[in-house]
């Protein structure tokens, strides 16, 4: 009970504070743009326009959003159990094996709607497998999960490099990728969904795995707040001693949580492999696993927060591409900066502005101040 944080009303806690953190992240990004000698306002214009200006752009934005929902959920599920799974990147990468195997095996013989479920299972299975090992090492041997999952990212990169080289690469090909899948390995685009709003998806790879991502988000909400497993995960996350007292099997919950987390990360692979490239390429994850950390932090580990946070990053990725096209001196690496700043301000520095905001909010409305006082007493 050091200096207690006075209780803020929900809108400030879940709305104002994240927004202020985000605004600061963008402000500093704007400074970088200024240093580079461009106009931040112009960049912002291109960003918004590039992300939402046309149906096709929106399609791309939502395509990235899909990816980030999966990886954001993966990080969030682990957070609820008090685990920091920093290995979403590697789990998504390994998850690709499951997708590739399903597609390479059945794309000639089965229609997409039969290959898709197999690929989902494959992606989740391989992603879960890659998270299972660090989870098991923590549960049984007490190995620090942050370190092991980082290590597993690198091991995954080496392993996939090897597999693409020696196993998946067709004979005679030079580039590190599988062959291109037939119709059975290609997910349909969601042009019907876009056309409801009078938009055309164009060349954007906005595909059905978006719906799967929304389903997964709902599934995670049910899991965390409406199932016994979720209850046990949250108990562990808040208080391991209470979990032991309640007879919750710590080791089991850690392993299962990590597998769910890894499975969600693995399912991210469906989107680029079956939805865009129709083949598995070297390094197809492209940092999406790490974006998941930013998304989970922004979204406060709640699916209802993760979806808008993923949309925000989808916007950054698509809009960022547009900026780099219009303003050559600002490459897509700008997004990486923003992503880092969001992680910094929404994560590590999340309490920096809290005292000021608390003073402001509670100072402005005496009614809330009274409520806070009585609650605290």
């Amino acid at each position: 009970m050091s200096v207690p944080h006075a209780k803020l009303p929900g809108w400030a806690e879940y709305g104002l504070i994240p927004l202020v953190n985000l605004a600061v992240a963008f402000l500093i990004s704007g400074l970088v743009v200024l240093i580079v000698g461009e106009s931040p306002l112009e960049a912002a214009y291109h960003m918004i326009n590039g992300a939402f200006g046309r149906g096709e752009y929106i399609g791309f934005t939502l395509y990235y959003t899909t990816t980030f929902i999966f990886t954001g959920l993966a990080v969030a599920v682990a957070f609820h159990c008090g685990l920091f799974n920093i290995g979403g990147e590697g789990q998504a990468y390994i998850g690709g094996i499951g997708v590739a195997l399903a597609c390479l095996s059945f794309d000639h013989t089965l229609p997409w709607y039969l290959v898709f479920p197999i690929a989902i299972l494959g992606a989740a299975f391989f992603g879960a497998l890659w998270a299972l090992i660090p989870g098991w090492l923590l549960a049984r041997r007490g190995s620090h999960i942050v370190i092991t999952t980082i290590m597993f990212n690198f091991i995954a990169a080496s392993l996939m490099n090897y597999l693409l080289n020696k196993v998946f690469k067709p004979l005679g090909s030079m580039s590190l990728e599988t062959r291109t899948f037939d119709a059975g390995g290609q997910l349909p685009k969601l042009d019907w969904l876009m056309s409801i709003f009078g938009l055309s998806v164009g060349t954007a790879p906005f595909n059905i795995s978006f719906l799967l991502a929304l389903l997964a988000a709902f599934g995670v909400w049910v899991l965390i707040w409406r199932t016994r497993l979720g209850y046990e995960m949250r108990t562990m996350g808040h208080s391991p001693a209470a979990a032991r007292y309640a007879g919750i099997k710590e080791a089991k919950i850690i392993v299962i949580t990590m597998m769910i987390s890894g499975g969600l990360a693995g399912m991210m692979a469906l989107n680029p492999i079956m939805g865009e490239q129709f083949r598995m390429q070297l390094d197809f994850v492209q940092g999406a696993g790490f974006v998941g950390i930013a998304v989970a932090l922004m979204g406060r580990s709640h699916p209802a927060g993760i979806i808008p946070a993923a949309l925000l990053f989808g916007m950054l990725y698509q809009g960022g591409a547009e900026i780099s096209f219009e303003m050559p001196s600002i490459s897509r690496d700008m997004i990486v900066i923003i992503q880092g700043l969001v992680i910094l301000f929404a994560g590590a520095l999340e309490h920096m502005f809290r005292p000021a905001i608390t003073r402001l909010v509670l100072g402005l409305s005496p009614k809330t101040r009274n409520v806070a006082a009585t609650k605290g007493a």
Partner: protein, 323 residues
């Protein structure tokens, strides 16, 4: 090629490749022994390498480059310190954030300033660290065994390499033989003991973090001013994480850090040299396996199959006065 010659060459490149690892791992040692975990070694190194590349090119002075590297790295350390010591935020999250911010901004700024695809312009001799030839290195080259060892392995490295190897005993001395070291190790184990002894936990941890910044800065400068002639995009290529692995592998001890970094450096040198080479009995070792080996070894260590790596007790936990 004769075996001894191969050995000398392999050993020499091991030393070269270990240098940044040693510096970065020692950097991590200072902050983690003080209870501040740092997975941002990678970002600090990268930022430092970039700063060194830029400033050395513009000033045509290698020392200015080194100074800039250290400055940038220390500033990044202070950001990490502010987030994790003053604001008591998550140390892991802060480290991740710094890695991203640096990865992005080095490319953006580099491209904006030099327009060479994220590189800094190639440095001339004045902007780089030369190699130091030890006295009589040429004279004794022909002496069997000892000659090549002296002139091939010990001589002919960049001054930063000698500095890195000197920093190992120096770090040990600082940590175990000075007042600062005693307090630093104490604050990583029980900050309460330090606080009640009338020492400021916050200032002590900030100093540890600054030490980390200085060493990371030198490590970064080594990459762009000694190992290469300028900065290239993403040039740390995971070395910060390997250094982190080495630090854990070394169980947070200076002497072990030397051996862990030499081992990981050797694996790297070996992988480069024997890429695609078929060994008798085992056949061809995939280069990817060699690359992954440091990480695999660290995981095995963390699993407690070879000894136990016990981190500093107060590591990763922001200090809050009890009540």
């Amino acid at each position: 090629m004769d075996f001894f010659q191969v050995f000398i060459e392999l050993a020499q490149s091991t030393v070269r490749l270990s240098t940044p690892l040693i510096l970065a791992a020692l950097a991590g040692l200072f902050t983690e022994r003080a209870g501040v975990f740092d997975i941002g070694l990678e970002g600090k190194m990268l930022g430092a390498a970039f700063a060194a590349g830029c400033v050395a090119y513009i000033s045509q002075s290698v020392m200015m480059g080194l100074f800039a590297a250290v400055l940038v790295s220390v500033l990044l350390s202070l950001v990490h310190g502010y987030a994790s010591i003053t604001q008591r935020g998550s140390q892991i999250v802060s480290g991740v954030a710094i890695n991203f911010v640096v990865a992005g901004s080095t490319v953006i700024l580099g491209e904006a300033w030099f327009r060479q695809g994220g590189r800094t312009p190639a440095l001339t001799e004045d902007g780089r660290f030369g190699r130091i030839t030890l006295p009589f290195a040429d004279a004794v080259r022909e002496v069997p065994i000892l000659g090549p060892l002296y002139s091939g392995l010990l001589s002919g490295h960049s001054p930063l390499t000698y500095l890195a190897f000197l920093m190992v005993p120096a770090s040990w001395w600082i940590l175990y033989r000075t007042r600062f070291g005693l307090r630093l190790r104490a604050v990583g184990e029980n900050p309460g003991a330090v606080d009640t002894a009338g020492i400021s936990v916050i200032w002590l941890r900030y100093r540890a973090v600054i030490c980390c910044g200085i060493l990371c800065g030198i490590a970064g400068a080594y990459l762009s001013l000694a190992a290469n002639a300028g900065f290239t995009k993403g040039m740390t290529a995971g070395k910060g994480y390997i250094a982190l692995a080495a630090l854990i592998f070394a169980k947070w001890r200076p002497k072990n850090i030397l051996f862990a970094c030499l081992l990981f450096g050797f694996l790297d040198a070996f992988a480069i040299r024997y890429q695609g080479y078929a060994f008798p009995l085992i056949g061809r070792v995939p280069v990817q396996f060699m690359q992954a080996l440091p990480y695999i070894l660290t995981v095995i260590l963390l699993a407690g199959f070879i000894g136990k790596a016990i981190p500093p007790k107060a590591g990763g936990v922001p200090y809050v006065k009890e009540r």
